[in-house]
Amino acid sequence: MLLAVFVFVVPAAADMRFQDRGLYMNSTEPGATTFYDVSFRYMSPQPVGSVDMLFCDDPIPYRPCVKPAGLDVSDATLTGQSGETGFTISNKSSNRIVLTRAPSMIGSGNSTYRLSGIKNPTDTNKSFSIRLRSHTSLNASGPQIDFGSVKGQVAQGIVLQTQVPPMLIFCMAEEVEYSCSGTNEEYYSDMGTLSPQSTLTAQSQMAVGTNASGGFAVTANGGPPSAGTNVINALGTPTASVPGTNQFGINLVDNTAPNVGFDPEGEYANAIAAEGYDVPDKYKYRSGDVVAYSSNVSLMKKFTVSYVLNSRADIKPGVYSTTITYIASGRF
């Protein structure tokens, strides 16, 4: 009985997704007039009389359709077809094309339709979609048979002078201006004489900002201080400064033990000190680590890097030094 109910309740043929969907744009230049090859495989074994192609920002078929900026398909012509053929364009607007033919049963294999005279969208930051639906009717009305979307995107030309280019601004010295317009031009710090009783400290500053939507990352690169083969170990995890032990570490916040550094300066909250380098009185250094980043556009922000150097009583004499290279990059 249950089985009989199940058999009768489940529809005999539900709509399915087109398979092997694809879009080839002969030119991806924004605003260019070009041809598109739209490919897909019909799935439901039913006669097809029309195919609806709706050009929207969003590929999801049941969402409101927002026409991609700059796109125009109102002058499109069907200049080629393979697989399921016999179609002509029966209806079109600036973002919709309806292909029609006398309803006939589909075969197997992929079908491709070449639509010429399409004006590309202009927004390079956004992809667009063609929502596809097949119908038995001639005018893409009534119940759909198969559905699915294909995705496309225009690519930026090499030079577009009208657009604001993304830029990454970075400066670094012992002291820097918030806007990077000046530094004190000191690029090294003499921290003094090592002693097991006290901690040597220093600080440097860097300012960074970007209008790139992906944000930025600043990494610190270079070994810990060394004199010949003798090395003062870097702190691999955030650790308090302990005089009398061999320690080298940095952080990017205001500290009291020892009293060194400042919190990041700048109202904008996107740019932050990275995890492990953002805890007061805890220091760490690992070459290649990200020390500050922003995952989005970030106005200029100034970071003060604090350095601590401790040594044991039996440390080998010598001049312990290192060069730390701060590398600012965009994110992907």
Partner: protein, 352 residues
């Protein structure tokens, strides 16, 4: 004549003395303030060359900017968008390296407060396979002299080239759900039970293809009582999953867009605003699309769920339950008192 000789010698001696007295120029007299383009993206067919420009700006008002340029490979650091630069000279070339095809000058000098535009070119050879190729251009300022800690500043431009053709595209969904961003001592990550209102949803995709992918799509989020929210653009920044990377794409439930002034230019920034979620159980549906031009458009669909139960809500719920329990207990006692309660017969033991 002797007098002339002595004058010449005196002048020569003075010149030599001056040369030694003037300190040798050091890198500390150069700028370390630069502005560069953070990334470049091209689509280049096999056998074609693209010529482009790199603009470098020296922000320092007094000192020239002396830079050396080199091209290095990069990969990913983690599931985010931070590049891991392969800076070691002996680092083996990656399979996606752009190094053999990318030409940039070795040095650039930029006067104070000026910009310098230098030529660069990317030449993709005939017969190169379709896919993504990428490397990084590193601009290095000089290393300092002296001190215990020397500082050196570098900037990086990430360069991506897409070669059209048949490519292998393979994204697999690894995770999808509510996502808490790292803040302070709280590590970020996917959370099923949330006492703080999640501001974002996220999905992690493993890219096993030979092309970088920037998926698009949407998420619908539904509360247990039916209230629905749609995240229309799950990748508004066009973030990429690099080759081999498991990339986490974070989508704000409520996106806050703001126009800001950056160096005199209006720029739009997007951040996650308070989501305004009600306490309760949520289900989410993910619809993703990806595919390069001329290749199949592929789709990923997935469902996820999570709880948002703030502490105040749990306390209120417990208080309400306590009140209900108390009234039930009172009611039971009243009923028992009215009807005399269950009567228990005393067992009497007989002594034989």
């Amino acid at each position: 004549m002797n007098r002339f000789k002595s004058i010449v010698l005196a002048v020569a001696a003075a010149l030599v003395a001056t040369a030694y007295a003037v300190p040798a120029p050091t890198t500390s007299a150069a700028s370390a303030s630069l502005s560069i383009v953070p990334n470049k993206k091209y689509t280049i067919e096999p056998g074609r060359t693209i010529n482009d420009k790199l603009t470098i700006r020296n922000l320092d008002a007094e000192q020239p900017l002396e830079l050396t340029l080199r091209v290095v490979d990069f990969t990913f650091t983690d599931d985010g968008g931070t590049p891991k630069l392969l800076l070691d000279e002996n680092e083996p070339q990656t399979t996606w390296s752009l190094k053999p095809y990318l030409n940039v000058p070795q040095t650039v000098s930029v006067p104070p407060r000026e910009s310098q535009t230098v030529d660069m070119s990317v030449a993709m050879p005939q017969g190169i396979g379709g896919g993504s190729y990428y490397s990084a251009i590193v601009y290095s300022s000089g290393a300092p002299d002296g001190g215990n800690v020397g500082l050196s500043a570098s900037g990086v431009t990430l360069a991506f080239v897409q070669v059209p053709g048949d490519v292998k595209e393979d994204l697999k969904l690894e995770k999808f759900g509510a996502y808490q961003q790292a803040s302070g001592d709280n590590a970020g990550g996917y959370k099923y039970f949330n006492t703080n209102a999640p501001k974002s949803l996220a999905f992690t995709l493993k890219n096993s293809g030979n092309v970088v992918e920037a998926p698009v799509g949407s998420i619908s989020l539904k509360h247990m009582f039916g209230r629905e929210q749609i995240i229309n653009d799950v990748n508004p920044n066009g973030s990429l999953a690099l080759i081999g990377q498991s990339r986490t794409f974070v989508s704000c439930i409520k996106l806050k867009e703001q126009e800001v002034d950056f160096e005199g230019q209006q720029t739009q920034t997007k951040t996650c605003d308070d989501s305004g979620l009600w306490p309760g159980y949520y289900s989410a549906k993910l619809n993703l699309f990806y595919g390069q031009n001329g290749n199949r458009t592929q789709e990923i669909n997935s469902d996820a769920s999570f709880w948002y139960l703030p502490i105040w809500f749990i306390l209120v719920l417990l208080a309400l339950l306590s009140v209900v329990a108390f009234f039930i207990w009172r009611l039971v006692n009243k009923v028992q008192g009215k009807f005399g309660g269950p009567k228990v017969k005393k067992k009497s033991s007989r002594r034989r």
